[in-house]
Symmetry: C2
Subunit: 317 residues, 2 copies
C-alpha cells in the first residue's frame, strides 16, 4: 500500500506512474485542496481534477489542466455575456465542477464527491482531498495579499512572492480514509509538486505530520527542482524570494525531519552529499517525466528506493 502526496501537474504525473506499476487498489493519493476556489458560482478543485483526469487517462498533456480534446463553447459564450474568462473551463471539465458544486450544496463532502467522480471515470486508486474543510493558500506580494488563483492564473504568477499564508488550516482535519491509508502505508511518496503551495498546505492539516511520523514506512520525496529550475510553475522563484537555496538541496531542507529519502535528478547528483548530511538518503534518478513510460519508470525507481530504505519495516510495494 502506497500513499502519495500530490499537488497538480508534476504530482499527477508521478501519481500516474505509481498507479501504473502498482496493483489497481494499492495507491492512495492525498491531494492539495488549498488552491480550490469558488469561481462562477462553482467549487473548483484544480489539483484534485488534474490528478483525477491524469489517472483516468483523459488529462490534456499540452496544457497541464483540463481534459484532452475539450471544447470551450460555454466559456466563449460566457465571455460574450460579460462573464469572467481568465480561468478557462472546458465544456467537459465544466461538468465536473457542476456535479461537484451541486452535490456539495446538497451536503456531500468533497471526499465523497471525489470518490464518486473517480469511480465514474474508472479510476481505482483512492484520490482523497487533504481535508474536507475549506483551507486556502493566500500569497503575499508587492501588490498585496492575493487569492491563490488570482496570483497563479489571473496574474500569471508574475508577482514576487513575499510570503505564503495557509488560511483555515486550524479548523481542518485529515479525512478518515487518508488517516487509514497513512496508518497502513508501506511507503509514503511526496511527489515533485511545489513545496510551498502544494505539499506544505497538505502538511498543514492538523494530524497529518504525526500520522507520517508514526508510520514505519519510508517517506520519500522527489525534488521538483532540477538544475536549479522548476519543471513547471513558480517553485524556483518562490524558493528564491522566500530565502531558500534554489536547488534540490533547498527542497530537501524544507522536508528535513519528515522524509527518510530524497530523489533528485541525475543533473543534481553533486548535491547528494549535502542532502545526506541533512539526515536522509538521496538517490539520483531521471526525474523529468514526459510520457507514461517515463512516469512508470520513475515510479518504479522511487518504489525500489522505498523498499531499500524500508527493508526493515516490511515494505511490500
Amino acid at each position: 500500500m502506497v500513499v502519495a502526496l500530490a499537488g497538480g501537474v508534476g504530482g499527477a504525473k508521478l501519481a500516474q506512474g505509481l498507479y501504473g506499476v502498482l496493483p489497481p487498489d494499492a495507491l492512495t493519493v492525498i491531494v492539495n485542496t488549498a488552491d480550490d476556489f469558488n469561481h462562477l458560482g462553482l467549487h473548483i478543485s484544480p489539483d484534485l481534477d488534474t490528478v483525477l483526469y491524469t489517472l483516468a487517462g483523459i488529462a490534456n498533456p499540452a496544457t497541464g489542466w483540463g481534459i484532452a480534446g475539450d471544447t470551450f463553447a460555454t466559456m466563449d459564450a460566457l465571455g460574450r455575456l460579460g462573464g469572467a474568462e481568465w480561468f478557462r473551463l472546458g465544456d467537459r471539465d465544466l461538468a465536473t465542477h457542476v456535479v461537484r458544486t451541486e452535490r456539495m450544496q446538497a451536503g456531500a463532502t468533497l471526499s465523497r464527491v471525489t470518490a464518486d467522480l473517480a469511480a465514474a471515470l474508472g479510476v481505482t486508486a483512492r484520490i482523497l482531498p487533504m481535508c474536507d474543510e475549506p483551507v486556502r493558500t493566500l500569497v503575499d506580494t508587492p501588490a498585496g495579499r492575493l487569492d491563490f488563483q488570482d496570483y497563479f492564473v489571473r496574474r500569471h504568477h508574475q508577482d514576487e512572492v513575499l510570503g505564503i499564508v495557509v488560511d483555515g488550516w486550524a479548523g481542518a482535519s485529515v479525512p478518515a480514509a487518508a488517516a487509514t491509508a497513512l496508518r497502513v502505508a508501506d511507503a509514503i511518496v511526496i511527489c515533485p509538486s511545489n513545496p510551498f503551495v502544494s505539499i506544505l498546505p497538505i502538511l498543514s492539516v492538523p494530524g497529518i505530520r504525526s500520522l507520517i511520523a508514526q508510520s514505519d514506512a519510508p517517506v520519500v520525496a522527489v525534488s521538483p527542482i532540477v538544475g536549479g529550475q522548476a519543471i513547471k510553475g513558480p517553485a524556483a522563484e518562490m524558493l528564491a524570494s522566500l530565502g531558500h537555496e534554489v536547488s534540490a538541496l533547498g527542497v530537501a531542507r524544507l522536508y528535513a525531519g519528515l522524509v527518510t529519502g530524497m530523489v533528485v535528478d541525475c543533473a543534481d547528483s553533486d548535491l547528494v552529499p549535502a542532502i545526506e548530511a541533512l539526515g536522509m538518503s538521496a538517490l539520483p534518478a531521471q526525474t523529468i517525466m514526459g510520457d507514461r513510460a517515463d512516469r512508470e519508470r520513475l515510479a518504479a525507481e522511487v518504489l525500489a528506493f522505498c523498499r531499500q530504505l524500508g527493508a526493515h519495516a516490511g515494505v511490500a510495494a
Copy 2:
C-alpha cells in the same frame, strides 16, 4: 409604447414580431418566471431565456428552447459523471445560467441580470421578469403535486392536470420597470402563451392586475388555442381537465374583465359572437406563426387592432 405579457415559445414568437415592427425601444416584455427552477445548482429561467434568445435571433427554432447550433459537451460529460440529464442544457445556453446564478448569488436581482444579458445580446427591447421574488408553479396530478419542470420536462406533461398552484405569489411585487412600462403603455398585448402556466402566474403578482385595469391602453390577448388545439404544449389538455371549454372561447372566458380585445384564429371566426358577448371585441387573424415574416404580420395586425380599440385613448403604436 407596447407592453407584452409572455411565457415561452408562443409568447416569444409574437414578442419577436412586435420587436420587429416597433421602434427599437418601444417594446417591454414582462415574462413568466413561475417555471424558473434550480437545477444542477443553477438558476434557470426557461421563459426569460426563450424570449431573450428569440429576440436576439439566436433561438433554436427546431426545439423551442436553447440556442441554435448549440453543442452538448458539458451535458454529455455530466451524464458520464452520473449527473441529471433530463433537462438538456446546451454549452452556450449554460453560460447564461452560470452568469445568472453567479450574479444572483452575489446579490443582483433577476431584473438586473436579465437587463444585462439582453444588453450583451444586443436586444434593445426591455425584457423583464414578472417579479424578482421566487414564485413557482406547482401542478397537481394523480401522481401528486409536481414541480413545474418535473411535470413539464421530466414527465413530458403526460400527467392529467387536476389543479395548478402558484406558490409564493403573495410575497411578490411588480418590478419598478414593469410598473412604469404598464403606466405609460399605449397597448398591452397578452401573447398566445399557456393561460394557466404562463399568463395567470404573471397576473398573480400583486398589483399587476390593477396596473392593467388602471391603464387607458387597450388590452388585447391572442388565443393560444386554434381549432380546439394548442399550437404547442399542454394548454388544451389543461383547459379540458380543469373544466373549461377547449377553444378560443374558453381562453376568452379566462381573460374576461381584463382584456378589451381578443385575437382568434381565422379557423375560429365562428366563435367571435360568443366572445364578443363576454364584453370584448374579437378579431379573426392568421395566428399560426412560422417564420419571422409571419410573426411581424401578426404583430402588425394585433397593433392595428389595438389602435382601433384604443383610438379614444391616443394609442401611438
